[in-house]
Symmetry: C2
Subunit: 449 residues, 2 copies
């Protein structure tokens, strides 16, 4: 496992506003924060030491109430750009025409299913729609449990897969106070920065195998191994060659399924493939997707090998009132068309490479940057207090996140120690945006010395 | 419990299309049904023996591809009318301006929270937003479990509360093949048609008490008693005086919470109050809402007494990427404004009473109608083969549902025996629509003799 700092932040949130500092805010923000706590209660969190209010946005730019412009290098949901007119108008037209559910026939969902399924390998035969990534992961595991007859779930140590009772039970990044299921087992993330294994695939398979064995000893068996192939909440690890197959083989031999959680890494984010798992040259049993699917419209889904849903579908049915409604489909269809039509996969690769090269260049003259990694337009930049010992520096990372916010550039942090800068702008990011980003990061680094 | 017919329909769906009859459909429908099964798999269901395709809709009218007009007496999601321009334009304007999540400050959600919370009793202090009613019920129970330290859940025998792993575990109406949680207990619905109890409140409290005791004996304790106060999937029971308080007292004495599931009965549906539970003169600990909240836009939510979320919110946070995003709030806000501005509560009461009186009038000359019940624009019409024995006639009920579809009027069926016609049109239903509905029902009844 990764070196652990002792910073007590479990049950808290990386880059979350700390309500005990409300008194230090300007009056408008303080009033807002207090009114918000009064109405929405304690479960909501705001970003940043100094929370930010937005009133409008366009493409990769967001604006506060005073008209100040922010560069959005964080929001992966609006992957084809804030307010993308193609998506906005598709939703508007469909809302005016018909907004109804999937128990009536409508061609929209079938045409979209054909298009989406065409982006997977041939043995991924069915698509089902939900409203959120949490619902997609929850449904995937309901199917996996029903299909396998097993209950056990294996995830990486800092994984996040959702907010439903079941998906939260296998989301250790929610913190020590959020109960993990007794049927949940964790393996260390394949950490490209710290791991010493020569063959990371074999090593990961060994870790998974230990957990499979333990689940079997408890009589739970293994229902699924669930993986975000960019390991986003573990700290962003993008392997340059496939490492998942040996672990997937172990899981399948034990009767379990491989679930690829594409909520973060799917829809061209990784730059080289539409789907993140495709970087690992292995075909999942179930694929879950969400966040950018409708560019902000609540739509998410599950794709799968047909045999996985056969018993579940016949025994139980699945109906989601809004899932796959005609408008959700219009949003997803328009978003996917923009990704394809504007070749945002290519843009993600090209602009992502520029961004990475730029940060690597900063790292050459700043040894506090321990590691720069990622794929496409998803970057993790790990801050350390000592390059030799690789000691995590979460204070520096959070300081940089807040300094960037002051410079009106949006990023956040991730990983167990919250010391990894998380950079994942809309896929419409351009080289000019990269320049603007790098110049802000450079000055934030300089000022933080 | 209610008399049970032996019709095997568990794990199937009331009013679901039977794929084994695909060969009897016209070519266009057959092709569609086959393509749909090929792409979406076996978990999806279509309504009606002869599925219907819609291409557009306006207010309470829907249109198929040939331009045929259907009267919608079923879809409660579009409660302010299909394509309501106030909602459509509010969503469009907000989508063009800003679609982002709740970790930035935005006034929209606070203004809406104030408005919504104003419709509850004073001790309901916080609101949280999700995307679906399933997510709302799942979150409500996560909070209830965390707050009470207990796990047990008590529901009515044919309840439906959602499709997530947890909410499906306390949704017995999903059928025998959908596993109930070992921590879930059922009580018979308070059946106004068949129950013999003089005091239904005392009787229900006794039934709940037995289940509380059993949960305590297993060491689970009771986390919550979850009730849809119109008992929609149990067969639609609308009591004319409060009956829930004694049962709620029993649950609270045992340390459990009362969760009012308002997904079906909320937002003015019941005609006399904005919220269904208010007909029972008892204030819940948690209120969940969904379906009509955004008139089809995926938005749902939870409101609660502040103490219920205190530990949960501090220990765990809750973030829902799309839940409470600026557009979802615009949709919910506009829908609530229309309900208030057009006084649809009053319309629900007035037009609902006409509808009920009309069906009661048909019942006077047709003894196959065993019972007509409901509140506001939510009616249950129970079909029986014998009024004296009250023997359920599901074949007749499903025949009527399909006959109405042939006459281009949309309804469905509900209840354990699927013998209760389920009638719940958009709240913009007018007296002229009632006449059109009654004339179709009259002729469907006549032709079914």
């Amino acid at each position: 496992m990764a070196t652990r700092s002792n910073t007590p932040r479990r049950g808290k949130m990386v880059n979350g506003f700390d309500p005990s500092t409300t008194g230090t805010l300007d009056k408008r923000t303080r009033d807002f924060v207090e009114r918000r706590a009064h109405l929405l209660g304690p479960a909501y969190r705001l970003f940043y030491a100094d929370p930010v209010e937005f009133v409008r946005a366009h493409d990769v730019l967001m604006y506060d109430a005073d008209g100040n412009e922010y560069l959005d290098a964080y929001n992966n949901v609006v992957s084809v750009g804030h307010g993308n007119p193609h998506v906005v108008e598709a939703v508007h037209a469909q809302m005016q025409t018909l907004c109804t559910h999937t128990r009536y026939m409508h061609e929209g969902i079938l045409n979209f299913a054909e298009k989406l399924l065409g982006s997977f390998e041939d043995n991924i035969g069915h698509m089902m729609l939900t409203c959120t990534g949490s619902e997609a992961n929850d449904l995937a595991l309901r199917m996996a449990k029903h299909h396998t007859g097993n209950k056990g779930i294996i995830v990486t140590s800092e994984a996040y897969h959702g907010n439903s009772d079941l998906s939260a039970s296998f989301s250790p990044s929610l913190g020590e106070n959020a109960p993990l299921g007794t049927w949940v087992r964790r393996v260390p993330a394949p950490d490209t920065y710290r791991a010493s294994a020569n063959d990371m695939g074999t090593w990961l398979a060994g870790e998974v195998s230990k957990q499979v064995h333990d689940l079997q000893r408890r009589g739970e068996g293994v229902a699924a191994f669930v993986v975000d192939s960019l390991f986003s909440s573990d700290g962003v690890f993008a392997h340059d060659h496939p490492i998942l197959k040996p672990a997937v083989d172990v899981v399948r031999e034990a009767g379990g399924l491989f679930v690829a959680d594409e909520v973060q890494c799917g829809f061209a984010r990784s730059g080289s493939h539409i789907w993140g798992y495709q970087r690992h040259d292995v075909v999942p049993d179930i694929i879950t997707m969400g966040k950018p699917m409708g560019n902000g419209y609540p739509v998410a889904g599950v794709a799968m090998r047909p045999n996985v849903v056969e018993a579940f579908g016949n025994d139980m049915r699945y109906f989601n009132t809004f899932g796959g409604n005609t408008v959700a489909v219009a949003a997803a269809n328009a978003t996917f068309d923009v990704i394809k039509g504007q070749n945002l996969l290519h843009n993600s690769a090209q602009v992502g490479a520029m961004l990475k090269a730029g940060v690597e260049s900063l790292a050459r003259s700043d040894e506090r940057i321990g590691d720069v990694r990622g794929a496409g337009l998803y970057l993790g930049v790990e801050m350390v207090s000592n390059r030799a010992t690789k000691t995590p520096d979460s204070k520096l990372a959070l300081g940089l996140v807040n300094a960037m916010r002051a410079k009106r550039v949006l990023i956040s942090a991730t990983g167990f120690n919250a010391n990894v800068l998380k950079i994942r702008p809309p896929l419409t990011f351009t080289p000019a945006h990269v320049d603007r980003f790098l110049s802000a990061l450079e000055s934030a680094l300089r000022e933080s010395r």
